[in-house]
Symmetry: D2
Subunit: 119 residues, 4 copies
């Protein structure tokens, strides 16, 4: 259980990098580049799929492993980026959801509302 704690994962990642003396590489700039590269590797799995095929990626064991592995890479660099800059990612997200709930009130009807480019 504790193994799945964000702070502990962050500590394991930091220890991993420290043991290999990788701190000189782990500038915020480099980590943000690595994060975006890993996010693209996740996207690459989906780039030629139809919406329906994309919803079924977990049905194939090999693809499921690849997707899960890329999720891990994205999270790893996000947590390392946050560790280096002293950002609490969960608090950042909680605050953002608070702001979005204030900015985008729930519409009256139940129809699909047009999706904003970024909320």
């Amino acid at each position: 259980m504790t193994e799945l704690d964000v702070a502990q994962l962050q500590r394991r990642l930091t220890d991993f990098a420290e043991a290999r003396a990788w701190e000189p590489y782990h500038t915020p700039k480099n980590l943000s580049a690595a994060l975006s590269v890993e996010a693209s590797e996740l996207l690459e799995i989906f780039q030629w799929l139809t919406p329906e095929q994309s919803a079924a990626v977990m049905d194939d064991a090999g693809t499921a492993f690849r997707v899960t592995d890329e999720v891990a890479d994205v999270l790893a660099y996000l947590l390392q980026f946050c560790a280096v800059l002293g950002i609490d990612p969960l608090a950042a997200l909680a605050a953002k959801i608070d702001r979005n709930e204030a900015r985008f009130p729930v519409p009256e009807g139940a129809e699909v509302t047009e999706r904003h480019s970024s909320e």
Copy 2:
């Protein structure tokens, strides 16, 4: 404390999307594209900075807010992607760190080791 729990943040994000009937937009393909777009918006803040300038981004309140806000966006899409596909991101990362610790043993010396393109 509970507010900062990953599962609860995931639930808040899912409720937020459901209340706006955004599920049709939230295919894994679209969410992976949105995740990579947000990661690039984070990178954009750093693209012209020197390594030294990038290490000091939190010193300016406006930039610190922008960085924290983009971190929240990246995490938001990562958690929504995982919710849609039934992936546990913390378990995925713990398993990946386990694999990496086995694959990349700690080197003997204390010098900087060459950073791998992706570990």
Copy 3:
């Protein structure tokens, strides 16, 4: 006609950067980051669209302008990146197509063949 020549566009971009003394920013690393950020801005326009909607983006004048503008940004950074490193992008692409034609022979039948993740 000469205005649309790749070499001349590259010269205009180089002159533009030189006149503003931007060379210190234009390292290959920074230009590759900027290129990927601009490619993501293009993707952002499409991230929530269905395949059918994505095929019709040029029907709306405002969206058509935005798409064309992002294409220009991507090409601008690609040409500047190539100028800094002395790469001829058209020769690089011609050589790549030659290699791909050798690696991926045309299939006999006329059916849709499975798309490779990257060719």
Copy 4:
């Protein structure tokens, strides 16, 4: 010479895709995703490099080949994206440079001016 013409490269790419019946995959949305994935593959080469190392990537034959190959991939998807939507990429860039020259007048002095996040 004609081999290096943009329009001819575009035709070769279109013929290549047609011969493999890949048109169903080549929606503008998918091509913009593929373009951004390729741009990230180029960035990946640079992500852990110092500015100085990044300026010297062409000194190593293997890295030079990899960089040139990724440039070709980025340009290939950009040209295919433009072919599908009927955009002239060189005209788009020429128009953008015209606009930027009007928007960002050359500064008087010769010092380095602060680089804008995006011009």
